[in-house]
Every structure is written in structure tokens, then in C-alpha cells.
């Protein structure tokens, strides 16, 4: 009896956290799975008492040409801006920072981190102005005699991918800076004595040593990029048409612009499942730290 009451007293402080997480995190996830099987709408009778319609929303998803397109755009966006862009830029910057003189190092890291610290809506305005047809990029191109296109209209995916690299590289740079600082210098020196050139040392010594940081960082940047909304919404609004509508934008538009909450929820459920799969892989990689 004494053991039980002590056990209860120990878990009481966890209660507020459990209630908040259950209501506002688990609740919406459960609701998302349930809502995706209903015809919930923003207004009208279906808003008050949504009806169970089974797999109709998912059938509509598969039949809707916008959904596969949006799924593909999301994959392209995540792969090019996070997996390739932010990671390669991050590790490149981390490496360069190590061999730079102090003033250059502080200038470069401050500037890169500033783009990451800015509130997302301000970063989005800045990127919008930069890529606008009358923006900074085209002014620069005009300076060397090139008439730049309307980036946001003719190549919207390229614009949002570059903007997201600009916005998010700081995170990877910081993770890799910390990782590189922990690579024992004896390892690379030994490889150098054995006659390995810079590229060989990077491929066979440095990268294998920091592989855990690489996998962690790949997972985190993927999850962060999967949920990017504001940057794309402000820059292109998902357009022209649906040419830059990644899944978060599509879910928002279906739910609030076209008032199909049930349909939007089905898209949200797909995102939750994709995010969940990535999270499980990530947590398995981190396992030793919890146990």
C-alpha cells in the first residue's frame, strides 16, 4: 500500500503534461484519422453533424489529379531543399568555418544563423522580395545584362527550394560544426600520413565518424521541411495554379478555401503517417540516449 501511494505521488507532477499532450497533440491526431472518414465541412449541416462516409475521401484523393502532383512536389521540395541543399550546404559551411579566420567566421555564421532566427513570415517576405520579377535577384542579373524571368511565376518550385535552403541551412551548419569538432585529429592525420588526399580523407575518415550526426540531421531537416507552410504560402500561395502546392498547402486550401474539411483532414492524415514513419526511424536511431 505504501509503495503504491508513493508511486502515485511520484507520477502526479506528470499529470499536467499528460493532459495537455493528450488533449492538444494526441486529440487532433485521433480526430484526424476519424475526420478523414467523414464529410465534415466548414459551414452548413455537414459542419454541425458530419456523416460517416467510409473511404470516400481517400478514394477521392487517389482520383484527384492534384493529390499525386502535390505528393510529388512535396518529395521534390523535401529532397532538393533539405536532403541535398541544407545538408550539403551545412556540411560545406561547417568545414569552411573551421579553416576561416575569426572575423570571416563570425560574419558568415552570424549571417547564416540570422536567416534562421528571423520570424518565418519576415523570412518569407524577404524571400518574396528577392525572387519577385522586380526584386533584388533580377536587379543583379540586370546589372550584368540578363533579363531575369518572373521566378515566382515561371519557376515557383525553384524559388521556394532556394528560399528554404537559405532559411534552414543554419540548423545543419550548427549540427555539423558540433560534429566536426569531435572528430579526433589523429584519425585524419594518420590517413594523411598513409597518403590519402583531402577527398579520400573526407569520404573514408570524416564522414564515417560523423555518420550519426548525418542521419540525425537528415531526419530532423526532413521533418521540418515536410511541414513548411508559411514560406511557400507567402511566396507563391501554392501557385500558379497548384504548381507549388505541397501537401501542407493543399490540405489548407482544400479545408479552408474549398471548405472540404473532411477531405483536407484526409490529406493531413497522410502527412501524419509519413511524419510518423520518419519519426520512428529517427527515434530508433536515438534509442541508446533514452535507455
Amino acid at each position: 500500500m505504501a509503495v503504491t501511494s508513493r508511486g502515485v505521488a511520484r507520477v502526479v507532477p506528470l499529470a499536467p503534461a499528460v493532459v495537455l499532450l493528450a488533449l492538444f497533440m494526441l486529440g487532433p491526431v485521433v480526430w484526424s484519422f476519424y475526420g478523414s472518414f467523414t464529410n465534415a465541412a466548414l459551414t452548413g449541416p455537414a459542419a454541425l453533424s458530419p456523416e460517416w462516409i467510409g473511404f470516400d475521401n481517400y478514394a477521392a484523393l487517389v482520383g484527384d489529379p492534384d493529390f499525386p502532383k502535390s505528393l510529388w512536389l512535396t518529395v521534390v521540395f523535401v529532397f532538393l531543399s533539405a536532403v541535398v541543399g541544407q545538408n550539403v550546404m551545412g556540411i560545406l559551411l561547417a568545414g569552411l568555418l573551421r579553416s576561416a579566420v575569426k572575423p570571416v567566421r563570425s560574419i558568415a555564421s552570424t549571417v547564416v544563423v540570422a536567416a534562421w532566427v528571423l520570424p518565418e513570415i519576415v523570412a518569407a517576405f524577404a524571400a518574396y522580395a528577392f525572387f519577385h520579377s522586380e526584386g533584388t535577384l533580377n536587379t543583379l542579373l540586370g546589372g550584368i545584362g540578363i533579363t531575369g524571368p518572373d521566378w515566382l511565376y515561371s519557376t515557383p518550385m525553384l524559388a521556394v527550394i532556394l528560399a528554404n535552403i537559405w532559411r534552414g541551412t543554419a540548423f545543419s551548419m550548427m549540427v555539423y560544426s558540433a560534429a566536426l569538432a569531435e572528430v579526433p585529429p589523429e584519425l585524419t592525420e594518420a590517413a594523411q600520413l598513409d597518403g590519402a588526399n583531402g577527398l579520400q580523407r573526407l569520404t573514408w575518415v570524416t564522414l564515417p565518424v560523423i555518420r550519426r550526426s548525418i542521419s540525425t540531421n537528415l531526419m530532423l531537416t526532413t521533418l521540418q521541411t515536410l511541414s513548411v507552410f508559411t514560406l511557400i504560402y507567402v511566396m507563391t500561395g501554392g501557385g500558379p495554379g497548384t504548381d507549388s502546392s505541397t501537401l501542407p498547402i493543399l490540405a489548407y486550401q482544400e479545408a479552408f478555401k474549398f471548405a472540404q474539411v473532411g477531405y483536407g483532414t484526409a490529406i493531413a492524415t497522410v502527412m501524419i503517417i509519413v511524419g510518423g514513419i520518419f519519426s520512428v526511424i529517427y527515434i530508433r536511431a536515438l534509442r541508446p540516449e533514452v535507455d
Partner: protein
């Protein structure tokens, strides 16, 4: 490796070469030059915000103003346009920051101090929560808020934002708490203090910098959050700066670029200040990412 890099190949390669072992001065010079070029690319979009806000005839392009003015700031500094949204942003951020810190400290204490059978599973769920893309759940959250009659409610939004930052906050707080030696509490216990008294009198004072970092982390996230208040708060007089600045962009953005930039700057400055404060407290510019790394 260099073939896959997006930057000019030759300097990048020599730069990465030094990553393994520093070589001649030519390599170092190249690394510095490449860094400065990258820094220039990164600073250009941000520089527009700064320059346009002081430009009497601002355009969308970066360019030195013919006439420097503070008229853009004067034009937007009205109660309904700026001060009320900034105040709302402060209430949202400080409110969710305070709730998150209190709840996270309470939850972190048993997780850090006792060996519990389910503690591990709880931590796994928390870790899972840190990964959940919040954007993905906003449509169901909206539906849930309609059912709970919480739509357009400032307290409802505050509690939701507190809940979404809670997993990361619990994770960070537990790590900070783990580094406070347990022997000090044991002394308090032998003098008859309860666990909660030991937490308040012994542990909390020792982890004050850690708590400050968690609070600022949550505050900065909430201050910059656009999507959550955009979906959950409908009346303009309740909306924080992130949302009203977007409304301003929609209404006047195509004409009053200078004012848009001035508003953006005014709204971004507190966050930049707080970030500098965090780096001072934790002694490293990379504090937030370090905390994120766990």
C-alpha cells in the same frame, strides 16, 4: 564529393580538404573567400528589409535609398496596426512560454529523478511528439477547436501552443535537470523536505539558466509562429503581429513596401535580441541547435 556540391567546385574542394587537415595558405584564402561569397548571398534578402524600411520610395529590390526617412515607421506605429498585434503576440508568447516551463519542470522532475517502469515509454512518446509536423495537424486541430468551442479564443490558442512546444521543452528541461547532482537534494530530503520542496528550493535555483533558455526557446517559437494563430484566431483584434502583418501585406503590400519592411523589422527585432540573450546565457551561439540535438 565536389561534383555533388552546389557551389563552385574548385574553391569548395580545397575548403573541404582543410576540413581534414589544414594545408597551405592558398587553401585558407580560398576558404575565406568562399565563405564571404556565401555570406553575401545569404545577407542580400535580409538586407532588403533593413534598407527598404528606411527608404522613402522603397521598391521590392535592394538598392540604396535616395532619401533616408523614418516616415515608414511613423506611418505604421498606430495602436490598431502595430501596438495591439505586438501586444497580442507578447501575450501569446509569454503565456505559452510560462505554461510550458511550469508544466515541463513538473514533468521533468520525476523523469529525471526516479527510475519508473513507464518513464521510458513516456520519453519515447515525448520524442515522437517533438517530431510530429504541427502543420500536418492544423486542419484536424481546427475541427477539434470547433467542437470544443475554442475557436477565436486567446486562452485556447495559448494552451495549444504550449502543448505543441511541450515535448521539446520536457526533453530540454530533463537534460538540464540531469546535470544537477542529486546529492544536494538528498541532503534536503534528510532534513525532511518533500520532493516538491526540494525541487523548488534546491533544483530550480541551480538550473535557472536552463529554465531561461527553455522559456526563450518557446517564446521565440510562439512569437514567430504564423500558421497556428492564422488558423485559430479569427478576429483582427485578437491576432498577433505575424497574422496582422500578413493581412497588411495582402492589403497594402503591393504599394507600401517601405511600410511592410518597417513593420517586419519592428516585429523581428525582439526575436533577434532574445536569440543574442540565449547565446549569452548558454555561452554558445549554437545553443538552440545543441538543445535540439538532445
Amino acid at each position: 564529393m565536389t561534383d555533388t556540391l552546389t557551389r563552385p567546385a574548385a574553391p569548395a574542394r580545397s575548403g573541404l580538404g582543410t576540413l581534414a587537415a589544414p594545408r597551405g595558405t592558398a587553401t585558407k584564402v580560398a576558404a575565406n573567400v568562399v565563405l564571404l561569397v556565401i555570406a553575401l548571398c545569404f545577407v542580400l534578402p535580409m538586407a532588403w528589409v533593413l534598407v527598404a524600411s528606411f527608404d522613402a520610395e522603397a521598391t521590392l529590390s535592394f538598392g540604396l535609398p535616395d532619401a533616408v526617412t523614418t516616415a515608414n515607421f511613423a506611418a505604421i506605429m498606430t495602436p490598431e496596426l502595430t501596438w495591439l498585434p505586438l501586444w497580442n503576440a507578447f501575450v501569446l508568447s509569454a503565456g505559452s512560454g510560462a505554461i510550458t516551463v511550469v508544466v515541463a519542470v513538473l514533468a521533468a522532475y520525476p523523469l529525471s529523478r526516479y527510475r519508473m517502469r513507464f518513464g521510458k515509454y513516456f520519453l519515447y512518446s515525448v520524442l515522437f511528439g517533438t517530431c510530429l509536423p504541427i502543420t500536418a495537424i492544423m486542419v484536424p486541430v481546427y475541427a477539434l477547436f470547433v467542437q470544443l468551442n475554442l475557436l477565436d479564443s486567446l486562452p485556447g490558442t495559448i494552451f495549444f501552443m504550449a502543448a505543441t512546444s511541450l515535448p521539446m521543452a520536457i526533453w530540454m528541461t530533463k537534460n538540464f535537470m540531469d546535470s544537477v547532482p542529486i546529492s544536494l537534494e538528498e541532503a534536503a530530503w534528510t532534513e525532511g523536505a518533500s520532493a516538491m520542496q526540494a525541487l523548488r528550493r534546491v533544483v530550480l535555483p541551480l538550473m535557472r539558466p536552463g529554465i531561461a533558455v527553455v522559456f526563450i526557446f518557446v517564446f521565440v517559437q510562439a512569437w514567430g509562429n504564423f500558421f497556428v494563430p492564422f488558423v485559430l484566431l479569427l478576429s483582427p483584434e485578437k491576432q498577433p503581429a505575424a497574422v496582422s502583418i500578413f493581412a497588411f501585406f495582402g492589403q497594402y503590400g503591393s504599394v507600401a513596401y517601405g511600410q511592410l519592411a518597417a513593420y517586419s523589422l519592428l516585429y523581428a527585432v525582439p526575436v533577434l535580441g532574445l536569440y543574442v540573450l540565449v547565446t549569452r546565457i548558454s555561452g554558445s551561439a549554437f545553443a538552440l541547435a545543441g538543445a535540439v540535438k538532445g
